[in-house]
């Protein structure tokens, strides 16, 4: 039992050190005692070391199947392959909180040592914020709250006391009084690489946003509100955003490929919890550009990062408290109230700080005109915040309605789609116009000339699509012609954006070729290489357009049906894009795919437009130890659509079987767009070369806007 005890000690030590580090940094700053600040920094590094040690211990326990440790017994069993035992580290509540804390400690250590010289004056407060956040998480998993149980009981709060006492079991090193023969094992649905990398990606995104928040608070409290903090955190923010985006996309991909309901996003509270900080974080990402370039939107930026931080904590809380999907679960664990308390406390504290420092956040410029890039960025921000608010409202609506009307009520996907749909369309429009808008001001005529060709292309798309009669019948919403209109407008907008981006690339390449005589490819690569943020940003936008293509396709043109087929019988399903599929049921077979898994697979022949194109095998896996059946959808992918088939049931001998069949138009553009988005962000994040850095600095110093660089 050495390892578990050691782990417990490491966590407790880390908790104490995190708090003392925050105190030392705070005190050192007040007293201007550099040795205190230095010791605080060393503590930050030590906390990271201790948590790395704790993680190593937890992994060792998981690998060695030490079921006396409750967490190990909860998330693993003997039959599991070693790889899954390792990834079970984030397969349950206690482990994932430990994992979160570990990442937080590493990020804090990296931020503190990485920015030590560049932003020394901010460091003490950065230490305070990151270590207090970390201490809160560590308090949950180190069993400290259990210490509060007896005092609470002593003053007569028996119920709170028992909640706190239960917190002890939340340590990933909590030991049972006995050793179970075997553990419960990981849910079979999790045996998929999408689910293995989804949580770490999300956590990296979540934790990453704590760092910009810490710098914002530090900048505010030291009144260093120029753009130093904005520059320091720029890369942090982008990286956090990248991970959060990847986490969301991989989660969608997993849900689509594994859960077998033919969808990827259900506006579930848990999904919304991860989407909300993404929305406000994306708004922040855009509006900091304005502060960098024009010294405006300072209050706004601080507010955005504060909200994002609160949402990160709130999201972590929402996913594990059960407060929304069933309010009954709220009281069952002490984690819920503690999280809520922490979110409220940090939010209130940051708002107070903000109001105290409002005077130092004066804008250096005023908005000159509605016809300016600043104004479009502002609009983009308002839209992101509006979508966030709608999502927030819908997510906590059960709580609101119970408080206000005394009766719990919910809103489902139709609510989110109805309200967020048009807002997303407007957002796409701003995405297209923003790169064309000059800073400060422009005239309608100038703008008109700039958007002429993109608008023409968009309009042609919209009208062209409206004219295709065969498309109309596939609009899923009550099939009146009216519903085609928003869809075609949306597609028109996408084309508009693509043409704008294409135009920007073409202009850049053309200019380079004229001055340098480079080849097309060379010019393109140099163009991107020398203006990474700008063209990386365009790539991200292109990725977003592709994602939107898939989202609209699957939302409006999805076809679904179900059929019961006897052996040898077939049926035909018509796709909105590629004609018809004829599916013929060939038979059923049972075989073992792993030691503990039996697979029942149906075989279907696929003919497209009458021509045989292949076989497809939707199946059901039965996991013997868990006595659990998992439906495994089968898919035939193409750029136009997926044919997505589920084996829904069968008569024992397989003489007949029932299938659920979906056609998912353009769905693969979601994943392709995701890759482009990741690529674009990577381009934007990549460190610029030194000379460019100097040019940019020189340009800034001379007060001239850097002509080529932009969002």
């Amino acid at each position: 039992m050495m390892a578990a005890d050691l782990g417990y000690v490491a966590l407790s030590l880390a908790f104490v050190l995190a708090i003392s580090s925050a105190v030392a940094a705070w005190w050192g700053e007040r007293r201007r005692a550099i040795e205190l600040i230095l010791s605080a920094r060393n503590s930050v590094l030590a906390v990271a070391g201790l948590l790395t040690f704790a993680i190593a211990l937890e992994l060792y326990l998981l690998l060695s199947s030490d079921f006396r440790v409750m967490y190990v017994a909860q998330v693993t069993n003997r039959a599991m392959p070693a790889f899954f035992k390792l990834t079970a580290l984030w397969g349950g509540q206690a482990g994932s909180l430990l994992f979160w804390s570990w990442l937080m400690s590493l990020f804090a250590a990296a931020a503190v040592s990485g920015s030590w010289r560049r932003a020394q004056i901010l460091i003490p407060k950065v230490i305070v914020v990151t270590q207090l956040t970390l201490a809160f998480f560590l308090s949950l998993i180190s069993g400290v709250w259990a210490l509060a149980a007896s005092p609470l009981r002593a003053i007569g709060l028996a119920e709170s006391a028992s909640l706190m006492a239960e917190m002890e079991t939340l340590t990933p090193f909590y030991q049972l009084g006995f050793t179970p023969a075997d553990g419960s094992g990981l849910n079979p649905l999790l045996r998929h690489w999408g689910m293995i990398i989804h949580p770490p990606l999300l956590y990296l995104g979540f934790v990453g946003f704590v760092i910009p928040f810490a710098f914002a608070v530090a900048a505010l409290s030291t009144r260093q509100t120029s753009d130093v903090w904005i520059r320091v955190i720029r890369r942090w923010t982008l990286v956090a955003w990248l991970f959060l985006s990847m986490g969301l996309l991989v989660g969608m991909w997993w849900a689509y490929g594994v859960l077998g309901w033919g969808g990827y996003w259900g506006w579930d509270p848990v999904e919304n919890a991860a989407l909300m900080p993404w929305l406000t974080g994306t708004a922040f990402l855009h509006s900091v550009v304005i502060q960098e370039r024009r010294g405006m939107f300072k209050v706004w930026n601080v507010v955005l990062i504060m909200i994002t931080y609160s949402l990160v904590i709130f999201g972590t809380f929402l996913t594990r408290s059960g407060v929304v999907s069933s309010v009954h679960a709220f009281a069952q664990s002490g984690v819920g109230p503690l999280f809520l308390g922490f979110v409220a406390a940090t939010f209130i504290a940051s708002v107070i700080l903000l109001f105290e420092r409002l005077d130092s956040l004066r804008s250096e410029h005023m908005l000159d005109s509605l016809m300016s890039r600043e104004a479009i960025f502002l609009l983009n921000n308002l839209l992101f915040l509006a979508i966030f608010f709608v999502t927030f409202w819908g997510t906590i609506f059960p709580v609101i309605s119970e408080l206000l009307a005394g009766q719990k009520a919910i809103v489902g996907p139709p609510f989110f789609n109805q309200v967020n749909g048009p807002l997303f369309a407007l957002l796409v429009l701003t995405m297209g116009i923003a790169p064309l808008m000059p800073w400060r001001r422009t005239s309608l005529g100038k703008l008109g000339r700039l958007v002429l060709w993109p608008s023409v292309a968009g309009l042609i798309t919209t009208l062209g699509l409206l004219a295709i009669p065969s498309l109309r019948q596939f609009a899923v919403l009550p099939s009146t012609q009216l519903h085609m209109v928003p869809v075609t407008i949306f597609y028109g907008l996408l084309v508009f954006v693509v043409v704008v981006i294409g135009q920007e690339f073409w202009r850049g390449i053309h200019a380079r070729r004229r001055t340098t005589g480079e080849t097309w490819l060379r010019a393109l690569l140099n163009l991107i290489g020398h203006n990474r943020r700008r063209y990386g940003g365009y790539l991200v936008h292109l990725g977003v357009v592709m994602i939107a293509l898939g989202v609209i396709g699957t939302n409006f043109f999805k076809v679904e049906t179900q059929r019961n087929l006897s052996k040898g019988a077939s049926f035909t399903i018509t796709s909105p894009l590629t004609g018809s599929y004829t599916l013929t049921y060939e038979g059923l077979n049972l075989h073992a795919t792993a030691e503990d898994v039996r697979r029942t697979a149906a075989t279907l022949r696929i003919a497209q437009e009458g021509r045989f194109v292949g076989l497809i095998q939707p199946s059901q896996d039965f996991f013997i130890p868990q006595q659990q059946a998992i439906t495994v959808p089968a898919m035939r992918h193409s750029l136009a659509e997926d044919l997505y088939i589920i084996l829904a049931g069968w008569e024992d001998d397989g003489t007949t079987a029932t299938f659920k069949v979906y056609i998912e138009p353009l769905v693969n553009w979601l994943w392709i767009g995701g890759l482009v988005l990741v690529l674009g962000t990577a381009v934007a994040v990549w460190p610029a070369r030194l000379e460019e850095h100097r040019t940019a600095l020189a340009a800034r110093a001379s007060g001239q806007p850097v002509a080529m660089e932009s969002s």
């Binding site: 909860q74 998330v75 984030w90 397969g91 349950g92 509540q93 419960s184 990981l186 849910n187 649905l189 999790l190 689910m195 989804h198 949580p199 989660g251 849900a255 309901w261 259900g266 579930d268 848990v270 996913t319 594990r320 059960g322 999907s325 069933s326 005023m366 908005l367 000159d368 509605l370 308002l382 509006a386 608010f389 709608v390 409202w393 609506f397 719990k408 009520a409 919910i410 809103v411 489902g412 139709p414 609510f415 109805q418 309200v419 048009p422 807002l423 400060r440 001001r441 679904e560 049906t561 179900q562 019961n564 868990q626 659990q628 439906t631 829904a648 049931g649 008569e651 029932t658 659920k660």
Partner: protein, 156 residues
């Protein structure tokens, strides 16, 4: 030169004030529009979330309204017609009140006795016709995103 000229004019306080009014106006229009969208969409899509007891207590007032109800799947037989995809089962609340449910669609993998079910659909006084089933398994596995939850929609 033109840069400078614009600079001067934009700092004249009257222009600035006019701009500020424009922006506030624009902002409020957006806020109002979003608020309006939220309110109307909430009204048209919100569904009550009942316990089984509340559902019975409301009586005919909620018949044929889209509602959400939660309960535990009972130990009675879960009857699934794999040919027609008709699923029949019952859920029960903590006071032992039962609700018979029918669902037209594939049987969710996680549907088994003691699973926590959240159903969306319509009640006619006798039978609850579910459109949507959201399941959480007995606490054998720990809760994590999507792990023990399963959501299935009706086909017809």
């Amino acid at each position: 030169m033109t840069e400078e000229a614009i600079d001067l004019s934009s700092h004249s306080s009257r222009a600035a004030r006019r701009n500020r009014i424009k922006f506030l106006l624009g902002g409020s229009i957006i806020a109002l529009a979003v608020g309006y969208l939220i309110i109307t969409a909430t009204q048209s899509t919100a569904a009550y979330f009942f316990t089984i007891g509340e559902l019975y207590a409301r009586g005919s007032a909620v018949y044929d309204r889209y509602v959400r109800v939660s309960g535990k799947v009972t130990h009675d037989a879960i009857d699934f017609d794999a040919r027609e995809l008709v699923l029949r089962f019952q859920i029960v609340d903590e006071h032992g009140q039962r609700l018979p449910v029918v669902f037209y669609g594939p049987k969710p993998d996680q549907l088994r006795p003691d699973a926590e079910a959240i159903l969306e659909g319509r009640f006619d006084g006798q039978l609850f016709t579910a459109q949507n089933i959201l399941l959480k398994c007995p606490s054998k596995y720990e809760e994590e995103k999507g792990v023990t939850e399963e959501k299935i929609e009706a086909v017809r």
